[in-house]
Amino acid sequence: MTQLIRQELYKTFRRPRTYISFAIIAAVTLIIEAALYADGKTFVNFALSGITEQFDVNGNIINGYLVTYIILQSLVVNIPLLVALVAGDTLAGEANLGTLRLLLTKPISRSQLVWAKFLASVVYTLMLLIWLAIISLGLSLLIFGKGDLINMKSDQIVMLLKDDVAWRYVAAFGFAALAMTSVAALSVLLSVFAENSIGPIVSTMGIILFFTIITNLGLPSFEVVKPWLMTTHMIAWKGFFDNPVPYDAILHSALILGAYIVVFVGVTIFIFNRKDIQS
């Protein structure tokens, strides 16, 4: 099994396509950082225009923590696509290449192969998030420095002191890893039905977008399904930037995302074990 996982990682990180996601994250992050560096004050004045009449806001407002928060908000819809780009290719890409039948004539079980591919996708997802953390948080702190984080929500403003922010980012990235793992599991599941990777990638994004729309629309008829949609819980990382942190809600979301992962991987193994390999 270790051998199989090592091989899956080797194949993933030797393929040029894998690095497209890293390049996209770097490009988007650098553009946002450059724009905020050049025009940050205008942006902050606009964002704070509603509260400066009542409060006196001073200090390093455009700091590394705020810039990172803005970047994460901007990328929240895009990261699942970048995860699906590799995870959706796991089984379907092998079927398309014709290497799936080659693998399955070797003395490995189909369940082992699914696990190895899923775990390789998880490692890729973690690497992507670590890269995002380095390029957004690391670089932003280097360029803009530390400062208190002003988290503007629709109904309140949360002010977090600069010494109280770093651990929140660690926790938020940890939760994002779980959320993106659920997206990877969905992509691997969709990958089992296809013989080229376009289908699973587009389908994953379609499902995520559809669920996100339902999550964000305040229609009463959607209230019944909302608590069970993965997209409702994928954004629970934002809770770490509330004061106090809603730990119960975050734990609840983590458990639901964990359940999604278990179901997606279980169904993938079930279907793949019964599938005729005709590609």
Binding site: Q3, Q7, L97, R101, L104, K106, P107, I277
Partner: protein, 310 residues
């Protein structure tokens, strides 16, 4: 002796199409076994069932007397296979492809073994090139190296000469003969290139529309007494009267304006040729029709269509 591979009543349908219908056969150790059939006859589906890629609706596969489904992983350690296309990871080198596949079969395979197998298939010196830069023939040879690297007893090669030029086909043929004669491997080879199977196989099975038509020893099925020879003459040659009065008349099977077909032992052909020349016949061509191809066509063609059948 227990056959190395036996298939019992294999049957598989896809929706309403019966791809393989009640096919049984067995292969003795050390033989090269030919699996013949036109495209769509069910060869690849059968081979995929032998390897567990497709689950049969009915029937079972035994390797060395052990049912495949019960010991799949153990049995696959003793099998090497190429199924249809010889696809690999084009963005990796041949060495990486071979090493990875070898490790999945046996984690103890040495680098020396990898080098030896690459030398055996003629890829020494090109192992660091990316596979996407390889020709069809090189990919096919790498596929055979992957099938061979863990030293399996049984090789299952589905259409191994597909897409190769004549030289490539000859090289693969030589390699298969070498593996069988010098290394004692059992080889199951499928092809629609009937001549190729005739060249390497000692046993064969013909599949037609998913059903087994015949199974047997290639030499016995190709009894030379049954050989047909087509003799093409210049069109102005008039020989019929003389032939009917000669000793060759009983051997004459059919005649057209310019072609005479005889059923002869091959040793009689020079005599017949001398007789024809002595009687002023302009012999343009003498062609043996009793190849496996003719035999195959006689078994699989519509009986109401007499053209091209034996």
């Amino acid at each position: 002796m227990t056959p190395i591979l036996s298939a019992q009543n294999l049957t598989k349908s896809f929706k309403n199409f019966k791809a393989v219908d009640d096919v049984s056969f067995s292969i003795a150790k050390g033989t090269v076994y030919g699996f013949l059939g036109e495209n769509g006859a069910g060869k690849s589906t059968t081979m995929r069932m032998l390897l567990g890629l497709i689950k049969p609706d009915r029937g079972k596969v035994m390797i060395n007397g052990v049912e495949f489904n019960n010991q799949r992983r153990y049995l696959l350690k003793h099998v090497g296979a190429i199924i249809e296309r010889h696809d690999m990871y084009g963005y990796l080198s041949a060495w990486d492809n071979l090493r990875m596949m070898a490790q999945l079969s046996n984690s103890d395979i040495s680098e020396k073994r990898l080098r030896d197998v690459l030398e055996l298939v003629g890829l020494k010196g090109r192992e660091r090139d990316k596979v996407k830069a390889y020709s069809q023939g090189m990919k096919q040879r790498l596929g055979i190296a992957i099938a061979l690297v863990h030293e399996p007893e049984l090789l299952i090669l589905d259409e191994p000469t597909n897409g190769l030029d004549p030289q490539g086909i000859a090289e693969i043929r030589e390699l298969i003969l070498h593996l069988s004669k010098d290394m004692g491997k059992t080889v199951l080879i499928s092809s629609h290139l009937l001549y190729e199977v005739e060249q390497v196989a000692s046993q064969m099975l013909i599949l037609h529309k998913g059903r087994k038509v015949i199974e047997g020893n290639v030499k016995e099925l190709l009894d030379p007494k049954e050989t047909l020879f087509e003799i093409k003459l210049a069109t102005d040659t008039v020989l019929v009267q003389r032939l009917n009065e000669s000793r060759w008349q009983p051997f004459l099977v059919s005649e057209t304006d310019d072609t005479l077909t005889f059923k002869l032992h091959p040793a009689q052909v020079p005599d017949l040729n001398r007789w024809l020349v002595a009687h002023d016949a302009a012999v343009m061509e003498i062609k043996s029709k009793h190849s496996l191809e003719a035999y195959f066509l006689s078994l699989t063609h519509d009986p109401t269509d007499t053209t091209g059948t034996v």
